[in-house]
Amino acid sequence: MKYFFFFFTLCLPALSFAQDFEYGKVGMKDVNLQNKAIDSNANAVVIREFGTAAIGVDDDRGKLYIDFQYHVRIKIFNKNGFNQANIVIPLRKYGDDEDMISDLQASTINYIDGVLTRTELDRKKLFNERKNKYVSLTKFTMGNLKEGSIIEYSYRLRSPSIFNFRTWEFQSDLPKMHSEFIAVIPALYNYNVSLRGVQKLTSQNAELYKDCLRIAGRPFDCSKMTYIMDNVPAFIEEDYMTAPSNFKSAINFELSDYVMINGGKRSITKEWKDVDYELISDKSFGTQMKKKDVFTALLPEIIKSETDPLAKAKAIYHYIQGNIKFNGFYGLYSENGIKKAMEIHSGNIGDINLALIAALGAAGLDAEALILSTRANGTVNTLFPIISDFNYVVTKLNIGDQVYLLDGSDPLMPFGLLPLHCINGQGRVINVKKPSYWYTIVASQRQSNRYVLGGELGIDGKIKGELTIYSQGYAAYDKRRKIHAATSVEDYVEKLDEQMNGTSILQHRINNLDSLDYALGEIYNVEIMAFKNMDADPAYFNPFFIDRTIKNPFNLNDRTYPVDLGASTESRVTISLKLPDNYTLADQPKDVNLALPDGGGRYLCNTQLNDHTLVFNQLLQFNKSVYSPDEYLTLKEFYSRIIQSQKTDIVLKKIK
């Protein structure tokens, strides 16, 4: 990253223009505030919150910084709100530079016997935890806390990272009565501003702030932008959702360009062509993609006699999977450089996938970089090129008309399938020679399971037969992980056997455990205790003992955010069972054929008796990976119908 050096003296504006509320001046309105007035479920509420951010200059070091001030007043209604009084302020480190905190003030205000009393933070109880090499935490807790206490704190934070102006989150886990943010930006700097989330701003104002700073005697103007949101509801996370940051109401700033003192304009992240240029020429990105020479000598050994481009690509992919171990750090950029990563067999996402691109390139294949943001990191802004939105890079391989997305960081991921955390909307493809473009990332395979049980029911009530389970896509990945987590295949099967009460696994065979590009097959010779008493007339048997839906995952009555499953899924069960001669079918589950609207999903189930052989089929499909909140109740009903269907039995009757 670059620094800006100013060789002039620059006067720092006093931040007196900010309309902060007065510290500690609590009125009876605050004292009498009840949670019923805002949200009867709230344990605490933010009465007022105020922040300002401005650019300043450190004269001694000739560096720019962001001067951020924060002030909040919170009312605690009950004991469950007490954890709001434990404050953690993260301070980041950027190489030699770091965030600095000052002017910290924290108080608890109680109303006791008609008097407002204030308890100040004990400085000895202010802790600084050096968390790791990137972050340290300033931590404190409020003293003398009671139900009904008002807590208030404010601080100033000086951050050297001017590329990311502060993100202001209007929405948090507490409801807020008033949240206000003022950004003061010298006219020299332009930031891309984006508002996210469903909540609307109550007011917004931009003013020209004349002569806000003076550089070398020359006055400069600032834009003073005020954003206010009143009565912001608490943000409540739901199951099956992507990053909360995608939905929380917040305002983001990213530096786009600045005017140099001599009048020239310099763009930082104005257009994608500039970003392309920067990335391609960056020695931790484009330079690494181009380092084909790292692999030239290794290639003959890797691809052996393969001539087919796809076969070559697979060989290279599996080679990278096996030779650079993921060190746990995400990132677009190569941490060690791919040469070093190959030497020490360790690297971050950048190292691994840029190496993959270089290796594929060395073999004459067309591989591009696809940069993306992981599901937990939130979706990317597609209006402006905001490079800090991206935190991950994978490989986009083109063979003819076919596209393969590859991530070499997980040794169990099959060729062409990205880990689920990468499936998150759009990514940008960066090509060494061509302009970049958007690409929609979808999982190339659905999560698919197929169970086939063929067997015979004896008069002793036992089913003897063969159960075969085929898994593909993420289902195969999950299964392989489980098998590998056991100390051996035998131990895995033993555990499986022990967990299935009433079922014994007599023999087993696992196919394609290490051939990742093929379906995983498990073949078990089983003996299932189906009927404890075959003499009971009639005898009930529930055929839904394989892959049974017990729980409705969508059991709530309303939904705010989309249901995001990541990938489409499919599960099939086929049971064919030869019955003893003297038995016949007396009753059976109703045949079911359910479908979600617009081909969103399907559930099929039917039972037939053909010549003493009972044939049972079941299919459950979810064809979309994302369902809108409107579809939630439909999904819930869909599951509910499945559960009802699975509660009914096959009834066998003796032929008399």
């Binding site: 009867s40 479920n41 344990n43 009950n78 004991k79 469950n80 007490f82 004990d122 802790f127 935890e129 050096r130 968390k131 790791n132 090499k133 931590k139 807790t141 003293g143 003398n144 806390l145 009671k146 096996g322 030779n323 650079i324 171990k325 060190n327 067999h345 360790s346 040794p411 590998h484 987590a485 056991a486 100390t487 131990d491 033993e494 056997d497 022990e498 967990q499 009460n501 009433g502 404890k532 009930y540 017990i550 729980k551 409705n552 059991n555 709530l556 009555n557 007396a586 009753d587 059976q588 589950p589 109703k590 599951y639 509910s640 559960i643 009802q644 509660k647 009914t648 039995d649 009834v651």
Partner: protein, 640 residues
């Protein structure tokens, strides 16, 4: 000149030979086959030498070689060294070797990541950790570590736990403790065959324990406390130095006395104002227990739990005056504060060290040491009515401990000396859940009705995660408690009776749409809606005793009003299962024109031989299938 070269060469060759001796390269091929069974990692060799040079200077030198067999074993390949002001990492280095023992890479302290080691429950602690994770893409590989730690105290001497993980086998491990010939130490050896090797030198006398070829094993459910079956050696020096405190102890009596007099007593000074406030608070109450209840209530109202563990603060409470001023503290601070307030009104109490957690663990009666507790509670030795107080929880009833600290041996620290006491037992009869539901089944399969549940004993805490939540959240979480498709609740009321035998009460109205499904000719009604036992895993090879930590009793009584016609098809059903593990009784019968379902399940606590595990599986699995019983009604008798 020539001779010189020859000598040099010889030395060189000797060194070479030493380096490639099989001992040092740990080839994978030399691991005995049985050690690879069920193992993800193998400790090839681990030698721990703890030396007590003086009471404020104890060193631990470790050499460890570990072979990682597969990716799953990788998380055991790393090394984490904790340190603080009193614990210094003197040196650490190592090598990574491949399967045949060829050097892959070397590393030293510079390759370790440094980070804070503050536990989740704490606001701050001054412990830090240095971590190293080897990176090797090929399995198996071996990591060899050599490190030395210095402790500036001897209160906590590193113990020997040679087999900490089930999926790790141990080829060889040893532990040597050395101290000056005149130093008195106490030693506790658990699950070790034989006697230690003893060597007495001029400067030091040493004892060495060794194990060889310990197999990896399968973790088993319902297993007893691992300390009962794993090898362990613990050392407690008689004379100690801890953060400048000097003292000595041979038993719990002396240790308890030291904790109270040196760590606690001086922290109990109160201001005259607060002493006066306490006297005023209990004015007019004559009974000590009622006085204590009043003060306990005051503490619960005033304080909250915040953990800060700094320096000796890890074992010394924050002064009572500070808790008074800040209204917060950790378990030590809150117990110390409560004890001080009680003292102001002349009620004696004991500061008690306990090993808290759901699994009951005792202070070892035979071996006093500082490392056995993790929590502090307060004991009131009232005449014929010993009362226990959990001061860290602001919601818990007076005199109630719950499953966190029930039924175990604790150390009461008093001025007169420490003594071991046992906290009250929560018996299966006391841990009672009593549920009553009055339900109606409509002819289209919907259920509606009312439900009431009373939870007591250890089950009092069943709803601890939702009792204080807002109603909206309670309704949401209750859908997980009663995980039935289409269930909806209204008029939910959760309350707690905090008397001496506390009870959590739940009362609600419910509806379950489409509960009883129809097939072509039948309607299926599963009678047990709310309380189903799950079967437990079978075991082909049970080795450990069966241990049931805590028993309980569940009584469910459900009455169903059925649509006309259906009730005629009812024929009574009964299940009765009795065993050493408990009992199960279910009846379903017609009564006053309704279907009445009664279920009583008692699970006993206890320890049983490994051979009985399969009986326990049968017991649970029989109950699990009995819990699924359903009435099947013919639909031709109903409207459609």
């Amino acid at each position: 000149m020539k001779t010189f070269i020859v000598i040099l060469l010889t030395t060189f060759i000797m060194l070479q030979t030493q380096q490639i001796s099989a001992q040092e390269i740990y080839p994978f091929a030399s691991i005995p086959a049985e050690l690879k069974n069920r193992a993800n990692t193998v400790i090839r060799e681990m030698n721990t030498a703890v030396t007590m040079h003086s009471n404020d200077n104890v060193t631990m030198a470790v050499k460890m070689a570990i072979t990682v067999l597969n990716k799953t074993g990788e998380d055991k390949a790393g090394l984490a060294l904790y340190y603080n002001k009193n614990t210094v990492i003197k040196s650490v280095k190592g090598v990574v070797l491949d399967a045949v023992g060829k050097l892959v890479s070397k590393f030293n302290q510079g390759n370790f990541d440094d980070m804070s080691a503050v536990s989740d429950f704490s606001l701050f602690e001054d412990d830090r950790v240095k971590r190293f994770m080897p990176s090797s893409v090929n399995y198996p590989y071996t990591v060899v570590y050599e490190y030395e730690i210095r402790f500036k105290q001897n209160m906590f001497v590193p113990a020997w736990h040679p087999t900490p993980y089930p999926d790790q086998s141990v080829e060889s491990s040893s532990y040597t403790f050395s101290c000056k010939p005149g130093d008195a130490i106490r030693v506790k050896v658990t699950n070790y065959q034989g006697q230690p090797e003893i060597s007495e030198g001029k400067e030091f006398k040493s004892q060495t324990w060794r194990i060889k070829n310990c197999l990896a094993f399968k973790p088993e459910p319902y297993a007893p406390n691992p300390e009962t079956y794993l090898t362990c050696v613990k050392i407690a020096p008689v004379n100690f130095n801890y953060y400048g405190y000097k003292g000595s102890y041979n038993n719990w009596e002396e240790l308890g006395k030291w904790i109270y007099t040196d760590l606690v007593k001086s922290r109990q000074v109160l201001t005259p104002e607060i002493e006066e406030e306490m006297r005023t608070l209990v004015l007019g109450i004559s009974n000590d227990k009622e006085k204590a209840r009043k003060i306990y209530d005051y503490v619960q109202q005033k304080t909250r739990y915040i953990s800060v563990q700094v320096g000796i603060g890890g074992h010394q409470p924050m002064p009572a005056t500070e808790v008074q001023r800040l209204s917060y503290g950790d378990c030590k601070a809150l117990v110390n504060y409560t004890q001080s307030l009680l003292k102001a009104v002349n009620i004696p109490s004991y500061y008690c060290v306990v090993n808290a957690g759901n699994l009951k663990k005792n202070m070892d009666p035979d071996f006093a040491s500082m490392d056995q507790g993790n929590h502090i509670i307060l004991c009131l030795p009232l005449k014929n009515d010993t009362t226990w107080l959990e001061c860290t929880d602001q919601q818990i009833p007076f005199g109630f401990l719950g499953s966190f600290t029930d039924d175990r041996v604790v150390l009461a620290c008093t001025e007169a000396g420490g003594k071991l006491l046992r906290t009250p037992i929560l018996s299966p009869e006391m841990n009672l859940l009593k549920r009553k539901a009055i339900l109606e089944l409509s002819d289209d399969g919907n259920i509606s009705g009312k439900l009431e549940t009373r939870f007591s004993g250890s089950q009092y805490d069943n709803y601890s995660s939702l009792i204080n939540e807002p109603l909206k959240e309670q309704l949401k979480q209750l859908k997980t408690e009663y995980d039935i498709d289409n269930i909806d609740f209204s008029n939910l009321k959760l309350s707690q009776d905090k008397s001496d035998a506390p009870i959590t009460l739940e009362s609600l109205d419910l509806t379950i749409a489409n509960y009883a499904p129809k097939s072509a000719n039948h309607i299926y009604l599963v009678l047990n809606l709310f309380n189903k036992v799950r079967s437990i895993p079978e075991s082909r090879t049970r080795t450990l005793p069966l241990y049931i930590n805590r028993g309980y009793t569940d009584e469910d009584e459900l009455s169903f009003k059925l649509p006309p016609g259906m009730e005629q098809q009812i024929s009574p059903k009964t299940f009765l299962i009795n065993s050493a593990f408990g009992s199960y009784q279910v009846t379903a019968q017609k009564q006053d024109g309704k279907l009445l379902y009664k279920r009583k399940f008692v699970l006993n606590s206890g320890t049983y031989p490994a051979t009985q595990y399969k009986d326990f599986v049968t017991f649970m699995s029989d109950i699990s299938s009995a819990d699924q019983i359903k009435f099947v009604f013919k639909t031709d008798l109903t409207k459609d």
